[in-house]
């Protein structure tokens, strides 16, 4: 089942097309990465999903229902530009935002207490936002995003401005929310986080989808059949006789590029037959960062 499904979504502004025929699905209970360079159309897309703006054409389904005005209550959205009322107290502010998401004042209070206790910040209830540090107010913002148990949580650069400890805290929360069945749409251009967290990604540039699929599958599609071998002792002379291209060689590591029809087993067998003292054998997979740069650059040309 998909929590979110976009079909041929188009959104044009006066002088450019922000979202151009975009289709993708976010599986229920998954973490999904929405990637793209600055100005790719990520924010436009998120604003359409959060019903802030409407698409010019195309269909959007949330939990199998066409997107409607009740859906914002099922979505939690944390924009990249964080913002809270500086003069309001933490408690009142969260209560207000939770009620805007359709919670009753009573339910909101109970849930907020649980969240604040979880983050060990219950004592902040009567503090003004303006008196909190940036990291502290990020926690408050995160709670405001998830307090109403949304089925789809949209996080735009959730870790920006967080120290590693708080970033880990939020990351753990994201995993826990996923365990509870929520889906997370995670918009970023920080690839190492995507690689770590996301199961599926969509990469957009200039409003168009360049890549879409599971992270593992994409990496597989973009692999260059490079193998790294770590060894002890000397390499036999005969190693260069094999039909493998040696990409690089150091005192204890050698990198081969295999042909399309050659498997890792073939390479390994040859190495063993050549009496190489193998310490480790790895296929070098491309990082998402490399794929991202490669694809976006070739798209921009």
């Amino acid at each position: 089942m998909n929590v979110l499904s976009l079909q041929n979504v188009v959104k044009a502004y006066a002088n450019h097309i922000a979202v151009n025929d975009v289709s993708f699905d976010v599986k229920a209970g998954s973490i999904f990465g929405l990637l793209g360079p600055n100005g790719a159309g990520k924010t436009s897309l998120i604003r359409i999903i959060t019903t802030i703006t409407a698409a010019d054409s195309g269909k959007i389904f949330l939990n199998d229902h066409p997107l409607n005005h009740l859906h914002p209550n099922e979505i939690g959205y944390m924009p990249e530009e964080r913002g809270l009322y500086k003069k309001m107290k933490v408690g009142e502010q969260l209560l207000y935002l939770a009620q805007l998401k359709g919670l009753s004042s009573k339910d909101a209070k109970i849930k907020l207490r649980n969240w604040l206790e979880k983050f060990e910040i219950l004592s902040w209830w009567d503090k003004k936002i303006g008196d909190l540090s940036k990291g502290m107010s990020q926690k408050v913002q995160f709670i405001a995003t998830v307090v109403h148990d949304p089925s789809l949580i949209i996080l735009d650069e959730p870790f920006s401005g967080l120290d590693p400890i708080n970033a880990n805290l939020i990351k753990d929360e994201i995993y826990q929310l996923k365990e509870k069945g929520a889906s997370i749409l995670f918009s970023t251009h920080r690839m190492e986080q995507v690689e770590e967290i996301c199961e599926d990604i969509v990469l957009i540039n200039k409003g168009k989808i360049l890549l879409y699929g599971g992270v593992d599958k994409i990496k597989n599609d973009f692999k260059e059949h490079l193998f790294s071998v770590k060894y002890n002792g000397n390499l036999p002379e005969s190693i260069s006789d094999h039909n493998y291209l040696i990409v690089s060689k150091t005192a204890n590591e050698i990198v081969f590029k295999a042909g399309v029809d050659q498997t890792s087993n073939d390479l390994l067998r040859n190495l063993i037959n050549s009496h190489v003292n193998i310490v480790s054998f790895n296929e070098i997979m491309p990082s998402l960062n490399e794929i991202f740069i490669k694809i976006v650059e070739s798209n921009n040309e």
Partner: protein
């Protein structure tokens, strides 16, 4: 609807709970009272030193009569002027009033002398001059053989008695005065209230945009709901503040009167610029009574709800426009100023028309502008005490309702685009484009 209410609640409660709001609401009436008390005090205290002034009146023009005042004693003395000057030098008296003989009994000018190194206070001079003036007048009457009764008969108190031809009701000359005051006060009050709270709406919108919380908010509710909640919330704050003032003013006035001994008479004295009360006292009792009668005779069942309606319609239209401007500007307050000017124009224009309508409620300017939306929200309430024809009220109400709804709609179109627009310089050309942006 529910979400509008939530926004309204927040806007209302955060404002009403704000310390500055509480202080200004409670202290303003107190401040006004203190100010008035201070004015009364300043006006009513003359010289606080006891003064003794000798009067040298050899021709007995004053017939040994000059009223002694609180700190001022007049002593009639026939000693020579030089001898009295000795007394002055010994500091036994503060000055000598020399009343020369009236040489030309029919002269239109008369000069008396005051010998002293200090000057007389304004009110002292006034008292002396009016006393001398009265004596000379009586003297002249005798000299010209005019009986004071005959003279009285020469004066005629002219006043108009308005009589209606078609309408079946009584109006008196005071009706016009009462209506004018009422209309003027209402006009001014409407102008300031709409302007003040409209600006508050604008600032609130700007704050949310600068804070960037607006994006979180409109992912929860429609921009229109946010804008309306804001407008209603701030409007309720305004009504609360005015309500508290209307209750507090009389209470504080009564307390103040008891504490400082301010009585309405001295207030009256202040207004009439120290003219002795006895001159107008005779008729003022009657007049005050009559004013109250007139006020009671006004068609309050029509005036009150209609004034409230015009206030609300005007407030909604203007504050929605202020919200739209606030959404367009963002950080730069100077930009806001240049954009608010065109909104302020009809507001100020209508206030000035309203003031002129007080004098000429049936002038074609007043009649037309009381039916033109936006202008009508201030001009018509000014005309209401003058009983304008019902069809004019009807046209005015209907057109204002339609136009206000249109303006709120227009403002909401600009607002929904403006709150998400950063870094673009807001101009009217840009704003008018936003109106036609889709979804």
């Amino acid at each position: 609807m529910n979400k509008i209410w939530l926004v309204t609640q927040r806007e209302y409660l955060t404002r009403v709970k704000n310390k500055t709001f509480i202080l200004t609401t409670l202290l303003t009436p107190l401040g006004i009272l203190v100010f008035m008390a201070a004015v009364v005090l300043v006006m009513s205290t003359g010289s606080d030193k006891v003064k003794v002034i000798n009067v040298y009146d050899p021709t007995l023009l004053l017939e040994n009569e000059l009223k002694t005042r609180d700190n001022l004693t007049f002593k009639f003395s026939n000693e020579s002027l030089d001898a009295q000057k000795e007394l002055y030098k010994e500091k036994k008296i503060n000055g000598i009033l020399e009343i020369p003989a009236l040489t030309d009994s029919l002269a239109s000018k008369y000069v008396y002398k005051y010998h002293s190194d200090d000057q007389l206070a304004m009110d002292e001079t006034y008292a002396i001059e009016s006393a001398i003036g009265k004596k000379i007048r009586n003297y002249k009457l005798k000299k010209l053989n005019i009986d004071s009764n005959t003279l009285k008969n020469l004066d005629t108190d002219v006043s108009a008695e308005p009589v209606t031809i078609l309408a079946d009701k009584k109006i008196s000359s005071i009706t016009t005065i009462v209506s004018s005051v009422l209309g003027g006060v209402v006009g001014y009050a409407m102008f300031f209230i709409i302007l003040f709270y409209g600006m508050q709406v604008m600032r609130s919108v700007m704050e949310e945009k600068i804070n960037r919380i607006v994006e979180v908010l409109i992912s929860s509710l429609k921009p229109f709901e946010l804008m309306m909640g804001k407008v209603i919330g701030v409007g309720l704050v305004g009504l609360t503040q005015i309500g508290i003032w209307l209750i507090l003013m009389p209470i504080i006035y009564i307390i103040g009167a008891a504490l400082f001994g301010i009585n309405p008479d001295s207030m009256g004295a202040m207004n009439t610029g120290n003219i002795p009360m006895e001159d107008i006292a005779m008729s003022s009792q009657d007049k005050i009574g009559q004013i109250f009668l007139e006020i009671r005779a006004m068609n309050w069942w029509l005036i009150l709800p209609l004034t409230l309606f015009y206030f609300l319609a005007g407030y909604f239209a203007y504050s929605a426009l202020f919200a739209a401007i606030g959404s367009a500007v963002g950080e730069d307050i100077n930009e806001a100023n240049s954009l608010t000017l065109p909104v302020m124009m009809p507001l100020m224009f209508s206030m000035y028309i309203g003031i002129s309508a007080v004098n000429a409620p049936d002038s074609s300017l007043a009649v037309w502008s009381s039916m033109i939306p936006l202008l009508s929200s201030i001009v018509m309430p000014v005309r209401l005490p003058f009983d304008p024809p019902w069809w004019q009220i009807a046209i005015s109400v209907v057109s204002l309702v339609i136009f206000s709804i249109f303006l709120v709609w227009l403002a909401a179109r600009i607002y929904r685009v403006g709150i998400l627009m950063y870094g673009k310089k807001a101009s009217f050309k840009e704003l008018s484009k936003w109106i036609f942006y889709k979804g």
